[in-house]
């Protein structure tokens, strides 16, 4: 029951949106399409739904192995949820959900009692039983999105497609619904594809994440895979904050300034300039030189924000700036003062050859 796209190319006038994208979503999987705006993720989703068509060529969309590339949207049974819900304002919640069932042709239309049963089951699933008679204008954003999901699920779709479903909601509601969506998926196991630009959301909810950039898939993998083993600097940077240290690869280690850090993955690459990427929380700061802390830097400023603190430092050798993330406790222990000289140890360094750019 898989959903697959092969070699999808799409241009809007002179703007190329997708450059030959291929992706397979296994039956019952929840895959996130993650990327910045303009990366083509919504376009890809809409092509799968049938709301857009790929440029003529070898681009194919397959549902359960069947080629649906030329099939109009209303025959595909792809449930779609929009960022702004697109609920029918003249219908109450019950009728919104029942819509897909009521419009079926006489042969396939379920009986009234069956429709009622299905809708009530869905209302229970999305926890909105008490709101069946309300109209969309009387609901909150989070409630509306749940109605939209129930409405899409009512037609027993082959695939569920969610376009930035929580994008229009505020942060707290977004977090709650994220969690709720994951639980929902555990319960009903519909093959699902959802688009987001929020990396935290993608990593928390999805079975696999596909990162898109400028119309191409940079990397696909489980959340752990892509976080721990990013394939490109773009992926690395997109999934969290990153510091870039200019240096040189030499003999299986990378030299940053006067300090040397082991970099076994660079063995055999010869001597090149390189950029080392380190996450802010993977940098250890001390006053005492020697030992693993090798790079000298000066404290520029220190800023506490909630449970964490950020320390901005400047390299003494080339003036490059970087940010370190500390817990409140670590900050109090260190008690840094602006202008003070510190020594940093870089852990978990990832090297990409110089010609990559974020």
């Amino acid at each position: 029951m898989s959903v697959e796209v092969r070699n999808i190319i799409k241009q809007f006038g002179r703007f190329p949106a997708l450059h030959g994208v291929s992706l397979k979503v296994e039956s019952g999987e929840l895959v996130a399409l993650l990327g910045p705006s303009g990366s083509g993720k919504t376009t890809l989703l809409r092509i799968i739904a049938g709301l857009e068509f790929p440029d003529t060529g070898e681009g194919r969309v397959l549902f359960y192995g069947e080629d649906v590339t030329d099939m109009p949207v209303h025959k595909r049974r792809a449930g779609f949820a929009f960022q702004h819900y697109a609920l029918f304002r003249h219908l109450d919640v019950f009728e919104n959900i029942a819509f897909g069932l009521r419009i079926r042709s006489h042969r396939t239309r379920p009986r009234e009692s069956e429709i009622r049963e299905s809708v009530e089951k869905l209302l229970k699933l999305v926890q909105l039983e008490s709101l069946a008679k309300r109209f969309p204008s009387q609901l909150s954003g989070g409630q509306r999105q749940r109605v939209a999901l129930a409405r899409a699920l009512a037609i027993e779709p082959k695939v569920l497609l969610l376009d930035e479903p929580f994008g229009a909601l505020d942060a707290k509601v977004r977090k709650e619904l994220r969690h709720w969506l994951r639980q929902l998926h555990e319960e009903i196991h519909v093959t699902t594809l959802f688009v987001t630009h929020d990396q935290e959301e993608a990593l928390e909810v999805a079975d696999r994440v596909a990162i898109l950039r400028e119309g191409r898939i940079e990397q696909i993998g489980t959340p752990e895979e892509i976080y721990d083993y990013p394939a490109t600097p773009f992926v690395y940077d997109f999934l969290g904050n990153v510091n870039a240290f200019a240096g040189r690869v030499h003999d299986g280690s990378v030299e940053i300034g006067e300090s040397k850090f082991a970099a076994p993955e660079t063995v055999g690459r010869g001597d090149t300039d390189a950029i080392a990427f380190v996450r802010p929380h993977d940098i250890h700061v001390t006053r005492r030189p020697g030992g693993p802390a090798k790079l000298a830097a000066r404290v520029v400023l220190c800023h506490a924000a909630g449970p964490l603190a950020h320390l901005e430092l400047e390299r003494l050798d080339n003036g490059g700036r970087f940010t370190v993330e500390l817990s409140k406790e670590q900050l109090h222990q260190l008690a840094p003062k602006p202008g003070e000289r510190m020594f940093v140890e870089l852990r978990n360094v990832k090297i990409f050859p110089e010609d990559y750019s974020i």
Partner: protein, 277 residues
């Protein structure tokens, strides 16, 4: 008594409101009051008699009936025109879009003589209908055609903005749920346009009931058959039957005010419907 307290930071409240109320009273309220007062001078029995003679009743039937029918047919054509203007691009669209306002901007007398000439037996349009046995000029059908002409812009201009503002995503949602194009139109688009259609109907109907200039040329104005209420009022005035004319006028005024209230109510309700929270 309304106390004109200075409200807000901006100046000129008392001046502008005072002048506006004064002007309103002189031009509108006092003359209207005079009408009701004059009608009040009639005994209720006389009043009732004046508005229920066969001739008057026939005029009411024609004015209200033709206006109702014209507004009804305009719902269909008005929706068609509004849809085509809102959704499609085609040659001459800009001109057609502007021309929809013609019946509204054109003086009624000009519309009247033009329609009468066009639909006469030898007129440009009338000559095509004559062999089919259809007489438009000098019949009740002519009254209907004239009222359709002047009512059209009211329906189109009320519905057009609604159709233009429709959210495409809602149509996409309907399609993704399995609706074909007709189902999407009938179950999603049409219900969204219904409030505007109702308002447009009421506006066209209200205008048609009181219409004078466009109708009297194309109608044969035969009492009891093709005489509209406004003409009846004019005739009574010419015969110096002021009480009779006033009685009929009061009935029309009450109907107009009721329609005005209805229209305002409809517009208020539809603005709530379209309001986004």
């Amino acid at each position: 008594m309304l106390r004109l307290r200075q409200r807000g930071v901006l100046p000129g409240f008392r001046l502008t409101l005072g002048y506006a109320l004064l002007y309103l009273s002189i031009i509108v309220l006092i003359p209207l009051a005079a009408t009701f007062a004059k009608a009040g001078e009639l005994s209720p029995l006389r009043f009732w008699h004046d508005i229920t003679t066969p001739r008057v009743l026939a005029a009411f039937r024609l004015s209200f009936g033709a206006a109702f029918l014209a507004a009804l047919i305009n719902l269909f054509f008005g929706l068609l025109v509004a849809w085509v203007l809102a959704r499609y691009q085609f040659w001459s669209k800009r001109i057609m879009d502007a021309l929809v306002d013609l019946p509204f901007a054109l003086p009624t007398a000009v519309a009247g003589i033009t329609l009468a000439t066009l639909y006469a037996q030898n007129g440009w349009i009338g000559r095509w209908l004559a062999p089919l046995g259809i007489k438009v000029a000098y019949t009740q059908l002519g009254v209907f055609v004239a009222l359709m002409f002047i009512g059209l812009p009211f329906v189109v201009r009320t519905v057009q903005p609604v159709l233009e503002d429709l959210d495409l995503e809602v149509e996409e949602a309907a399609a993704s749920l399995g609706a074909n194009r007709w189902q999407t139109f009938w179950r999603v688009i049409f219900p969204a346009a219904r409030p505007a259609l109702l308002t447009g109907f009421a506006l066209a109907f209200a205008r048609g009931v009181g219409e004078y200039g466009s109708v009297i040329f194309i109608s044969s104005n035969l009492p009891g058959k093709t005489e509209i209420v406004p003409l009846l009022i004019v005739t009574k005035l010419e015969q110096f039957d002021y009480p009779g004319a006033t009685a009929i006028a009061v009935v029309m005024l009450v109907a107009s005010f009721a329609l005005l209230l209805l229209i305002n109510l409809l517009q208020w309700r539809s603005s709530r419907y379209y309001a986004r929270t």
